[in-house]
């Protein structure tokens, strides 16, 4: 979406509110210029100082008061109906941005740290709110005030009106010089604020290490640097705001002086009345106020533009078109329990430059039949995790390499694909909510009847229920941020429970039992085997003990499948497998 399309799209969201607001703003501005006319009449009648004039004077005064009351009411409406859309747009955009972020693939999230994204949603959306609210209001206020007021002034004295323009022109030139500088500074400041927020976020997440290693001084020093850069920028902005921008306010006062001097000269020549000079003085304020607001609206405008750019940086990342596809229910159920076919799968991480990156996966081919239990053994850096992230389509793939039944998984949406495949990652992410809610995560909306949601049962299967019983509040215990209250093993078991809760056709376990002991590992695997007899399972591990009983084991080394077969076959055929097995066997033998 282009920037102007973006702006119009969100303007149209509140079009009726805006239209009504424009009408109100016009009425307010009309009344604003009408009222001084009645004041002028009153003052002139006063200057005549006759008894007859007193009656007319009272009538004019009543008009002034009556019109003022009407103006108050209409102004309330004008502000409500022009400022509310700003708030509504902000809320809508928040949801829209979040919606998009949730659907953007991993390639996007690797580029943007979450601290930066949050800063955009919190800080930049403020700028957009102002743009769509106060910016809109002031734009029309200024438009009407600057067009109506000169007409009313012209009616009194064309010459004086023309001369009054002089201070405005001078002030505007100075103002725009400052404005251009401010524009650059504001975007710079926003970036510096984002940097600060990113940096703080990063250090807060490593707070334990920082404390234990007594790195407080170093970290404080780093923060100080970034904080200082922000401060410098803030003060540069302040300098322009205090020395350049008020010039416009003073244009109002210069105008008054001009009106008194020149107007006085005309008055003495009997070209003007004292009432007309009074009205002119009032109009000078009406002309100056919008000019003052011009400063504000300019700021709002430039901040809005910067913010829109930031937000568009997110929104312009299109969700891959295949992710917008939705399978029909019939197609969905026809694909239940299919075979996973991997055909000549190669993968290399995208590199910054165009030079080809090293292949992390090289020409892999294998199948997982429905109900088959497959293991992948590999050492560090062998491509295990990359393989998992390809299979669950976390990484972006070329088509024609991974098929679910007859369907290429790159030709269905990731959301659909993940209703078949459940991945338990090695770094499980928990929300700072209860254990219960964390287990239910991802199962809440899928239309499964709640009686299927047997949280207790899956906690039992993943060997967590005993731990849960020990917590004071049972499964209503809060796990803390990122599950801090739980040990690494408890987190892993919780994520297993989570995956077992919703039925799926293929469960991928990516090295998930690394933080639990052999005993627990075995019990959990047993339970998982029991639970998912009809479902396929892929276990990725560097421990042979976790793989020994798989129907088929793939041995992955440097992105290639160097051997495949059952445990017994591999012991005979693959030296790497045997070596690894013996190392672990050696441990257990000496133990026994």
């Amino acid at each position: 979406m282009t920037k102007s399309k973006f702006i119009i799209h969100y303007l149209l969201l509140n079009k009726y509110s805006y239209l009504f607001a424009i009408l109100c703003i016009f009425v307010v501005n009309y009344l604003q210029v009408e009222i001084p006319r009645y004041i002028q009449l009153a003052v002139d009648l006063l200057n005549q100082s006759t008894i007859e004039s007193k009656e007319g004077l009272l009538e004019n005064v009543q008009w002034v008061i009556a019109l003022s009351v009407v103006m108050v009411v209409v102004r309330i409406l004008s502000r409500m109906y022009s400022l509310n859309p700003g708030r509504i747009t902000e809320a809508t955009l928040k949801n829209d941005v979040f919606h998009r972020l949730n659907r953007l693939p991993s390639t996007f999230h690797e580029k943007y740290a979450s601290g930066k994204l949050i800063s955009i949603i919190n800080n930049d959306l403020n700028g957009i709110r102002l743009f769509y609210g106060i910016g809109f209001l002031q734009l029309f206020n200024i438009l009407f005030a600057l067009s109506l007021t000169p007409i009313w002034m012209w009616r009194i004295s064309p010459e004086l009106t023309l001369y009054s323009v002089i201070p405005i022109v001078i002030a505007s030139v100075i103002f725009w010089l400052g404005f251009r500088k401010l524009r650059a500074l504001h975007s710079q400041r926003l970036i510096r604020l984002q940097n600060l927020s990113e940096q703080l976020m990063n250090y807060l997440s490593g707070i334990d290490l920082i404390k234990n290693q007594q790195m407080g001084d170093w970290v404080t020093n780093e923060v100080d640097k970034v904080n200082r850069r922000l401060f410098d920028c803030t003060m540069q902005i302040a300098k322009i705001q205090t020395f350049f921008m008020p010039i416009l306010d003073y244009a109002n006062h210069f105008m008054k002086v001009l009106i008194l001097g020149l107007g006085g000269y005309y008055l003495l020549q009997a070209k003007l009345s004292i009432g007309e000079i009074t009205a002119f003085l009032s109009y000078s304020v009406l002309l100056a106020l919008p000019l003052m607001h011009l400063g504000r609206i300019a700021t709002v405008y430039q901040m809005g533009m910067i913010s829109i750019d930031s937000v568009q940086n997110i929104l312009n990342n299109e969700v891959p078109s295949t992710d917008m596809l939705r399978m029909s229910d019939a197609e969905k159920s026809s694909l239940r329990g299919s075979t996973l076919l991997v055909q000549n799968l190669s993968y290399s991480y995208p590199s910054a430059k165009n030079e080809p990156n090293e292949l992390v996966l090289k020409n892999l081919s294998f199948t997982i039949e429905p109900g088959e239990k497959v293991g992948v053994l590999g050492s560090i850096g062998s491509g295990k995790s990359t393989l998992v992230n390809c299979l669950n389509h976390h990484l972006s793939l070329e088509k024609g390499h991974i098929f679910w039944g007859s369907k290429d998984i790159t030709q269905m949406s990731r959301q659909d694909w993940r209703s078949y495949v459940r991945t338990i990652t090695q770094d499980p992410f928990l929300f700072s909510d209860t254990i219960f809610e964390n287990v239910k995560f991802g199962a809440n909306h899928q239309g499964q009847a709640t009686d299927d949601l047997d949280v207790e049962q899956v906690l039992e299967l993943s060997q967590l229920s005993e731990d849960v019983r020990r917590f004071g509040a049972g499964d209503q215990t809060l796990v803390g941020e990122k599950g801090i209250m739980l040990s690494g093993g408890q987190k892993q078991r919780l994520s297993i429970a989570r995956a077992l809760l919703t039925p799926s056709d293929l469960i991928i376990m990516d090295n998930v039992l690394s933080a639990v002991d052999y005993e627990t590992e075995r019990t959990i695997l047993k339970a998982v085997f029991n639970r998912i007899q009809g479902q396929s399972l892929l276990v990725v591990s560097h421990r042979v003990s976790a793989l020994e009983y798989m129907d088929k084991i793939l041995v992955l080394e440097q992105g290639e499948i160097i051997a495949r077969g059952t445990h017994a076959e591999l012991l005979g055929s693959c030296s790497y497998y045997r070596e690894t097995w013996e190392l672990q066997q050696h441990e257990t033998e000496t133990a026994a």
């Binding site: 004041i39 009153a42 003052v43 006063l46 004077l57 002034v64 103006m71 108050v72 102004r75 509310n84 928040k94 949730n102 659907r103 690797e110 979450s114 949050i118 990063n202 807060l204 997440s205 490593g206 707070i207 920082i210 404390k211 234990n212 407080g216 904080n227 205090t242 020395f243 008020p246 210069f254 002086v257 004292i274 000079i277 050492s379 850096g381 995790s385 959301q415 993940r418 990652t425 995560f441 991802g442 809440n444 020990r470 917590f471 990122k482 209250m485 093993g489 989570r498 090295n511 933080a515 639990v516 075995r522 047993k526 421990r543 042979v544 445990h567 070596e579 190392l583 257990t588 133990a591």
Partner: protein, 597 residues
């Protein structure tokens, strides 16, 4: 207008601002100049009308006009200097508060982080301080300037004509009452907006950090509907706020015109009687702006100061949050320097511990002694309290019951920074700085030479893979190490704990997610450590445990068995069953896991 708890919150701000008295004083000195110029202007208007325009005398008019221009220039200069210098003061205070809060945050206990999402802490340091820097500083500056000017103008008006001035004053009480009423409503609304914003931000942050999990579980709609709830709350309160704002603003703007009407109506009689000159009446009409515009702006200034009070309240929470070692009787660091120069012994005597002082005991009656050169292994199922022991030893959690003696000194009386140098901790969660590998191993410590970094890396067999990276030790890590694999990150963090060279190595599940071949290498390294250093280890690998002098078997926070490997095997208890299970996996699960040869 401002309640005393509000003022209480400002205490910290003014404390930091008072460091910049000089700048503030220069700014404040400009104030009288600005006020004088501000009053001179309407006075000159009266002169122009009454002395020249009404009687029709041209001579001298131009001189008055020139004087008026000079007054304007003085006014501009004084105003600009006032605002600029006081803004410097305010921004410097904000700068210092941010640093002070950050330093405080670094000293907060683990319990604070357990109960506070990082997003909340982050918004204290960023958006709350932004609000203070913008809303409070600017709000107060204009509020002070406007109130003084308004007051001066009012006094000036009384001086010129007290009856007309009194008429203007009559309008004040209803306006002030209205302001007060709206102020209270706005305050309520701001509390709601800020809390729903903080909750929303906290949740958003979690979702973004866990976006992979959200996507892999197809939970997009689920988290969105929750987030929409927060947005709705926020919007609802915002719209109400807007209604109050609009009403107040419009009424006060309208008041000016209404009062002009009143002045003419009342003043006309006086003018006819000759008591009031036309110049005075016109000057009054024109100066009304100077009274009512500030009165109108008061509300927006107060609103913005209001907003900042919510932010001050949040920051105050951080200022009053107990520091890690606050209120504890600690021995002076100097007196311990000698005693804690080297590690001698660590003794746990009947230690009990529960997280946050509530819930079940995670450690229950734990006693053991670790002497210099000994190795202690902690064994037990997950959740048995192994990690807790290490967390208590490193003083991550403090309120234990019983007694822990480090070199014979009670641990709770030792300042944390006097004992941390003794320990090298390797935690479960690897945290990496967005710096190069060298920094992540040395942690910027000058006393760790380049060679020492390489040595440490070789020690844990990380050297080879580091040499394979572009830039080798200068390889920059991104996004908390997302450009390394989990195993590589583990290795770096392992090298780090070796390089830091504490006398007691604490290894917490050090070998998880490392493949068997690498694991074997690490085991050899650990073997070396076990031979040379004092070690306390949580490990699942038998080779780690086997060579320990002492093995503690924990179950639900209690030590159920202790002794060395041979002794425990001989006991044929929990420990040995852990091991035999390992060896006899086929027998145990033969039915479920088809036997392979």
């Amino acid at each position: 207008m401002i309640k005393s708890p509000d003022l209480q919150y400002l205490k910290h701000f003014f404390h930091y601002a008072s460091r910049y008295k000089k700048t503030a004083i220069i700014g404040l000195l400009m104030m009288p100049l600005s006020v004088a110029a501000n009053l001179l202007f309407p006075w000159l208007v009266i002169q122009v009308i009454d002395e020249h325009l009404t009687p029709g005398i041209y001579a001298g008019l131009m001189l008055l006009i020139v004087i008026m221009l000079v007054v304007l220039v003085v006014n501009y200069t004084a105003d600009a200097i006032y605002t600029y210098f006081l803004r410097i003061t305010g921004q410097k205070a904000v700068f210092d508060i941010r640093m002070a809060l950050f330093e405080r945050i670094l000293k907060l206990p683990r319990t604070y982080y357990d109960k506070t999402p990082t997003g909340v802490t982050l918004s204290r340091l960023t958006s709350d301080l932004e609000v203070i820097g913008e809303s409070f500083v600017l709000g107060v500056l204009s509020l002070v300037k406007d109130s003084i000017n308004t007051l001066a103008v009012l006094i000036f008006m009384f001086f010129i004509n007290w009856q007309l001035a009194l008429l203007i004053l009559l309008v004040f009480p209803p306006v002030l009452m209205l302001t007060q009423y709206v102020r209270n409503r706005l305050r309520e609304m701001y509390a709601i907006t800020r809390s729903s914003l903080a909750k929303g931000t906290g949740f958003l942050q979690e979702c973004l950090l866990g976006v992979k999990t959200v996507q892999l579980y197809g939970a997009e709609e689920e988290v969105e509907s929750k987030y929409h709830g927060y947005t709705e709350d926020f919007l609802g309160a915002q719209l109400k706020t807007n209604k109050y704002d609009a009403t107040l603003f419009s009424i006060i703007t309208g008041i000016t015109s209404i009062t002009i009407g009143l002045i003419i109506w009342y003043g006309s009689g006086k003018v006819l009687e000759g008591v009031v000159s036309l110049g005075v009446l016109i000057a009054f009409i024109n100066t009304l702006e100077k009274v009512f515009v500030p009165l109108r702006d008061f509300t927006s200034q107060i609103a913005s100061i209001q907003r900042s009070f919510a932010a001050f309240e949040h920051i105050e929470e951080l200022f009053v949050e107990d520091l890690e070692e606050q209120g504890q009787k600690l021995l002076p660091k100097e007196s311990l320097q000698h005693k804690l120069a080297n590690f001698e012994t660590l003794e746990f005597k009947n230690v009990r511990f529960q997280y946050g002082g509530v819930g079940p005991y995670v450690l229950d009656d734990v006693s053991f002694t670790l002497n210099k050169g000994e190795q202690l292994a902690l064994v037990g199922t997950t959740g048995s309290g192994k990690s807790t022991i290490i967390r208590i030893m490193s003083k991550t959690y403090m309120d234990y019951e019983g007694s822990i003696l480090l070199n014979g000194i009670e641990l709770s009386s030792i300042p944390k920074d006097a004992m941390l140098h003794l320990f090298s901790l390797m935690q479960q969660d690897v945290f990496l700085f967005e710096q190069n590998i060298h920094f992540n191993i040395s942690l910027g410590a000058d006393e760790i030479s380049d060679d020492a970094v390489v040595d440490a890396a070789q020690y844990v067999y990380a050297h080879d893979f580091i040499l394979g990276l572009p830039g080798q030790y200068q390889f920059e890590l991104k996004n908390s190490g997302s450009n390394l694999s989990a195993g590589q990150a583990q290795l770096i963090s392992f090298a780090r704990s070796v390089a830091q060279g504490g006398q007691v190595m604490m290894l917490d599940e050090a070998t998880s997610s490392v493949d068997s071949v690498t694991e074997n290498l690490i085991q050899k390294a650990i073997g070396r450590l076990f031979a040379e250093k004092t070690v306390i280890a949580i490990a699942h690998r038998l080779s780690t445990i086997r060579h320990s002098d002492q093995i503690l078997v924990l179950n639900q926070g209690k030590i159920v068995e202790r002794g060395n490997h041979q002794e425990l095997l001989a006991k044929d208890g929990v420990y040995s069953s852990l091991l035999t299970d390992d060896a006899n996996i086929e027998d145990d699960e033969g039915l479920l896991l088809p036997e392979n040869g």
